[in-house]
């Protein structure tokens, strides 16, 4: 698999104005690769939701995006508090975002459900007090 291209992004915590820069950068790279706009859209939305989650809950983290000729893999790793109940967190509308975050229009409890909806594979590895790593794949 030497045809895989990898991009790495560091996400700053608590900076809502800059959240979305990484997903935007990925989106523009995928366009340059000439990928189908539906694939690009799925990746951009899923990654943006993940990016926002990292900003809201985990004080940032690292995103690694790998593009191969079969799929796009996004690995979002943070050192946040972890997710106590993943099934609950996956429910639409469930949110633990602080009120001030909600007042900005975020934290509607659609982040994780949207990430699942827009990707072909999604895996959540989380340890309380240590952090969460979410791996998402969108097939090409």
């Amino acid at each position: 698999m030497n045809d895989t291209l990898t991009f790495r992004y560091t996400i700053d915590g608590d900076d809502f104005t800059r959240a979305g820069e990484a997903s935007s950068s990925v989106k523009n790279k995928l366009k340059q690769l000439g990928l189908d706009s539906d694939v690009i859209r799925k990746v951009a939305i899923a990654m943006y939701e993940g990016e926002i989650n990292m900003v809201i809950h985990a004080d940032g983290g690292e995103i690694t995006v790998s593009v191969s000729d079969s799929d796009i893999t996004m690995i979002l790793a943070d050192r946040g508090p972890g997710i106590p109940d993943v099934d609950q967190a996956m429910q639409e509308g469930f949110s633990t975002a602080r009120p001030e975050v909600r007042s900005l229009g975020f934290g509607a409890g659609m982040g994780l459900p949207n990430m699942k909806r827009y990707t072909d594979e999604m895996k959540i590895d989380t340890v309380i007090g240590e952090g969460t790593t979410i791996t998402m794949k969108v097939y090409i």
Binding site: D3, L5, K27, K29, K31, L33, S37, R41, I45
Partner: protein
């Protein structure tokens, strides 16, 4: 198929270009490079927005458009004044003053673009109502916006309102009216648009959404404006009543004017190419919710901010508002215009993946890998000295075969430093602390060959960096000069 689909009306006046980097920095689609001391516009990346015209300090970017003398090419001519023309004049209270002056200038008739705009508004209202579930729609009246979406936002093409621009509708109706009135053949009638921007010039020659435009020629507001002034001293009683548009139609000249005619509450109206780029990014990412309509104008302030206008865009905005204050809301209705065959687009706008790196995904992926490697080598200053707007674009140009790594002055500098170091090392006599003593004698034949090779490489490096002719020192051959530079270091 349109053969000149990347036609543009923004051009370079080479004699005026100083090779500075202002234009490459301001171009929103990174369509300009400076090579050999002159700017070059890349056709397929250019969306004709005219921003470089505004920012070039040497006035080396110009718009091409037709001279007013084109009215002599036809038996009968109809002027299509853009509503932004009215906003150029001070204290204008009656549009008929401008329209009558156009007749005195030599046109046989006038057809206001603002009248057609009211038909477009009506058709848009109906279309949006009938296709409510497909909202939000993006306005398609500004040709630069359509061209931007066509090359950069494939997923938003289907959101473009598939309705002809007001000027096109005006041209169609004007020709039909003139043919009926004069009995002339269509080609004997000249439909001449008085435009606020070069983007419409390209549109008239290579339209998107329809196969051929009804506009024959496009002249500039800034050319027509002063010529009309002497004809505007008027006696109200002698004015022919020509004006036939209301608040909605004339309002189209301002940002927010188009949505004003749609009577929708949930809209976004953005103007200025940088702002609309941001809006399109957000629309594409589905970050904007609950919108019915998105009005986008490439120029600040809307069409009144076009590069072919005279008046300050914001003063012009106020003037338009003052002019329409006592006008009826709208004076044109689709049912009264049966001559208008079809107000909708006949052609689909196709995505043009001009920013794609390679021809296939595999090729693009491999090229992007090279771009990443190159970008890591560059300093990331986006200084523009190489002639590309950013380090990233230089890397892309190199991978496409349009530039070399040595175009980066930092890469070049480090290569030169490296070679100079090798030469210094070679010149240093082995076992002696004094390099200047007798270096010549101590060089073996092998070392001499190496030295010759290094010097050749060095001059090659320097020659590869395009220094414009006028910046080169006079009376000194290039090779000798670079040689001196080397010795000095």
């Amino acid at each position: 198929m349109n053969t000149n689909k990347f036609m543009r009306s923004v051009r370079l006046r080479e004699s005026a270009c100083q090779g500075c980097i202002n234009c490459i920095k301001y171009c929103p689609t990174q369509a300009i490079r400076v090579h050999n001391g002159k700017a070059h516009i890349i056709d397929k990346f250019c969306i004709d927005c005219g921003r470089c015209i505004r920012y070039c300090p040497h006035h080396a970017k110009v718009a091409v458009y037709d001279p007013l003398s084109v009215i002599n090419n036809f038996k009968y001519t109809v002027a299509l004044p853009a509503p932004s023309l009215y906003a150029q004049y001070n204290n204008l209270t009656n549009v008929d003053i401008v329209l009558n002056a156009l007749l005195k200038l030599g046109f046989d008739d006038v057809y206001e673009v603002s009248a057609a705009a009211e038909l477009v508004s009506e058709a848009s209202r109906e279309y949006i109502k009938e296709h409510a579930e497909e909202a939000p729609f993006i306005s398609s009246a500004c040709p630069s916006v359509v061209r931007l979406i066509r090359v950069k936002f494939p997923s938003l093409i289907s959101r473009l309102l598939p309705i002809k621009a007001p000027v096109e509708v005006a041209a169609e109706l004007a020709r039909a009216k003139a043919m009926k009135k004069t009995g002339l053949k269509p080609e004997e009638i000249g439909i001449i648009f008085i435009s606020p921007c070069p983007s419409k010039v390209s549109y008239a020659r290579a339209p998107l959404g329809i196969e051929k435009s009804n506009i024959d020629n496009v002249v500039a507001i800034k050319d027509v404006y002063p010529l009309l002034l002497p004809h505007m001293k008027h006696d109200d009683s002698q004015l022919l009543p020509l004006s036939n548009s209301g608040r909605i139609g004339i309002g189209w000249s301002n940002a927010g004017g188009e949505v004003g005619g749609l009577l929708v509450d949930n809209y976004l109206a953005a103007d200025g190419i940088v702002n609309i780029l941001r809006v399109l990014e957000e629309l594409e990412d589905e970050k904007l919710h609950g919108l019915t309509f998105v009005e986008l104008n490439a120029c600040n302030g809307g069409c009144v901010g076009g590069t072919l206008t005279v008046e300050n865009a914001y003063i012009a905005t106020t003037k338009t508002k003052r002019l329409v204050k006592y006008q009826p809301v709208s004076r044109n209705h689709l049912e009264d215009n049966p001559e208008l065959g079809n107000i909708y687009w006949a052609d689909n706008v196709e995505y043009e993946p001009v920013f794609r790196l390679g021809n296939t995904f595999k090729e693009s992926l491999q090229m992007m890998g090279e771009v990443e490697k190159l970008t890591a080598r560059f300093p990331g200053l986006d200084c523009g000295s190489c002639g590309a707007p950013t380090c990233q674009t230089l890397a892309e140009d190199i991978v496409r075969g349009d530039a070399t790594p040595n175009d980066c002055i930092y890469v070049l500098r480090s290569n030169i430093a490296d070679l100079s170091e090798k030469i210094r090392h070679l010149m240093q006599p082995k076992g002696s602390g004094n390099p200047s003593a007798s270096s010549k004698e101590t060089l073996s034949g092998e070392d001499q060959a190496l030295l010759k090779q290094y010097i050749q490489e060095l001059t090659g490096e320097l020659a590869s960096f395009g220094v414009p002719e006028h910046l080169r020192p006079h009376g000194e051959p290039e090779g000798k000069h670079t040689g001196n530079e080397v010795n000095r270091s």
